[in-house]
């Protein structure tokens, strides 16, 4: 709230959020001539199914707009013809790290060394997800047995949980990362506030599970039975019994989505209460 008020103030009194949006657009137009302040974005593919990348592509014209005006894709196995991990502003890492795959281990370390912001894109990267269930023994690399979320090997700045992560969240983080790195003071502040809960998730840990709902929401006396967790579960392991979540623990793939989605895991009033204006800013930035 205060944040947006400060935007309003610095842009001259009344509701001038539209102006911020216009400014973003003006900056964007400038960049068509000089790409100097586009950010460098990379997609690092470790042990994942490419579903996260597909999800990113499912932003359709939004992705084209991001790549046109806000970010250069400097690395991406399937989309950019670059062999070695370059310097990046934002690295989106998909998949967990296979400890027996020397190159993966080197890649994730190099990604950390060369990136300003490392984003764990999707649940394998954030929490291990389905790769937690690997026991190795498969052709043609039977020794590839141990998979860890990237946070167990490097410091991670931002989590985007989800299996797959929703295109809209990837879009929001991309726009906010751009504002954080290239925006004016107010835009930086807004982006910082927006990204903070996702940074807190990254600090919280590398395991995700239905049990997080038990230990950090229900056992803590915070669950009010809204049903968000059940909606967010990609494998329908959560049902609502007498108004409370019941997890089928054998079905849980440990993606951590339910906890991240729960309104009682994090809820930043100063950002979410401004949903109308922020949605407009994001939509405006992608027009």
């Amino acid at each position: 709230m205060e944040l947006l008020n400060s935007i309003k103030k610095t842009t001259g009194g009344e509701a001038k959020l539209a102006q911020v949006v216009t400014e973003i657009k003006v900056e964007a137009t400038k960049e068509i001539k000089s790409v100097a302040n586009k950010i460098k974005l990379g997609h690092v593919h470790l042990s994942g199914c490419t579903g996260c990348l597909v999800s990113m592509a499912d932003n359709n014209l939004g992705l084209i707009k991001i790549l046109d005006d806000y970010a250069d894709l400097v690395y991406g196995l399937t989309l950019a013809d670059v062999r070695h991990i370059p310097e990046m502003d934002v690295a989106l890492v998909e998949g967990s790290v296979c400890l027996q795959d020397h190159e993966s281990v080197e890649d994730i370390k190099e990604t950390r060394r060369k990136s300003k912001i490392v984003v764990a894109l999707g649940s394998c990267s954030s929490y291990g997800n389905i790769t937690r269930f690997s026991r190795g023994g498969q052709h043609n690399q039977p020794q590839h047995e141990s998979f860890l979320p990237i946070g167990d090997l490097i410091d991670v700045d931002i989590y985007i949980p989800g299996c797959p992560p929703s295109p809209e969240l990837i879009r929001n983080v991309a726009v906010m990362a751009y504002l954080l790195l290239e925006g004016n003071e107010d835009q930086k502040a807004l982006a910082g506030k927006y990204l903070k809960p996702l940074m807190d998730l990254a600090k919280r840990g590398t395991t995700g599970c239905f049990c997080d709902l038990m230990s950090d929401v229900i056992n803590q006396g915070l669950c009010m039975g809204c049903g968000t967790c059940a909606a967010s579960c990609p494998v329908r392991a959560i049902t609502m019994e007498f108004g409370k979540p019941q997890g089928e623990r054998d079905l849980c793939i440990k993606c951590g989505s339910c906890y991240g989605a729960c309104p009682r895991s994090f809820f930043n009033f100063d950002v979410i209460s401004e949903f109308e204006d922020i949605s407009e800013i994001i939509a405006g930035a992608l027009k």
Binding site: A230, F242, F275
Partner: protein, 291 residues
């Protein structure tokens, strides 16, 4: 745009009642939520809406996706128990194939919808497909067994025989089909509330497009907050179409003062609870969901 620390942001506030006799017959108060959702459906603003219908047991709510006037009408009236509305939010865009989803629900559920829109964690397609939300005023909610205890043990009525329940004038009211009216002090019900309600910092669904509840308006009428641009557009059209009688909130008794008073009571009390959680144990805090 008015910004109130307890009532949230809103464009206007009025007292209103539906003009639809069929809806009013079973509505809790002014029939606002039902009438708005039926209107939105008929105008193509939404393709369907998540409402609280009837569950397996008497007075047990169960959320479902309503796609016709008939279905929406099944959800008339307040059921004082937990209905996990948001559990259908993503499915509404999938197996139900809705492009424009309506959601009715209480304060925390409106918060859940807005979080899902801004931080859509595994909520693909949800942000762009939430078309219209109507929030209800909510002081607290009861698990089903609590409701059973209140009605069957305290009010000594069988849940099967109950026609209507209501909270007002400091009491929990139970009306039976055969005309019995029992009430108990609302204070006696406090211990049966679900714990999650005690950290809730919203009373009048601050994050809905339109929010409504009985408090502040005379019997049979509802207080209505019009909050967002979208809400304002839909409300104006619905009023112009003659779906509501309205009165300025300043002209009705008990009016906005009572809404503010109750909102302040709830939110201040719960802020204190959130604060107390920080020193709950010995050098150990309970988790702060807003940190």
């Amino acid at each position: 745009m008015i910004e109130d620390p307890y009532l949230g942001k809103y464009i206007t506030c009025v007292s209103a009642r539906s003009t639809d006799k069929e809806i009013l017959k079973k509505a809790q108060d002014g029939g606002i939520a039902t009438t708005l959702m039926v209107y939105a459906l008929e105008q193509g603003i939404i393709d369907g809406t998540i409402v609280a219908g009837e569950g397996d047991r008497p007075w047990e709510p169960r959320p479902f996706v309503a796609m016709s006037r008939e279905d929406i009408l099944k959800a008339r009236g307040t059921k004082y128990s937990i209905s996990p509305q948001i559990s259908w939010l993503k499915e509404a865009t999938r197996s139900f194939g809705l492009d424009k989803v309506g959601v009715t629900g209480v304060c925390c559920q409106m918060q859940a919808v807005r979080k899902a829109q801004l931080y859509p964690i595994n909520m693909r397609d949800v942000p762009g497909k939430v078309a219209f939300t109507v929030g209800l005023f909510c002081m607290e909610n009861f698990p089903y067994k609590s409701l059973q205890t209140i009605v069957e043990d305290h009010a000594a009525q069988s849940l099967n025989s109950v026609k209507r329940m209501d909270i007002g004038k400091g009491k929990f009211w139970v009306y039976t089909e055969r005309g019995n009216v029992t009430s108990l002090p609302i204070k006696a019900t406090h211990k049966y509330e679900q714990p999650g309600c005690h950290v809730c910092l919203d009373y009048v669904s601050n994050l809905a497009d339109i929010s409504t509840g009985s408090v502040g308006s005379p019997d049979g009428w509802s207080t209505v907050f019009i909050r967002t641009k979208k809400g304002n557009e839909i409300w104006s059209k619905a009023v112009a179409a003659g779906l509501f009688e309205t009165k300025p909130i300043e002209d009705v008794k008990p009016g906005l003062d009572l809404v503010t008073k109750l909102a302040k009571e709830k939110i201040d009390k719960n802020r204190k609870t959130v604060e107390e959680r920080k020193t709950f144990g010995v050098n150990k805090a309970l988790r702060d969901p807003y940190a």
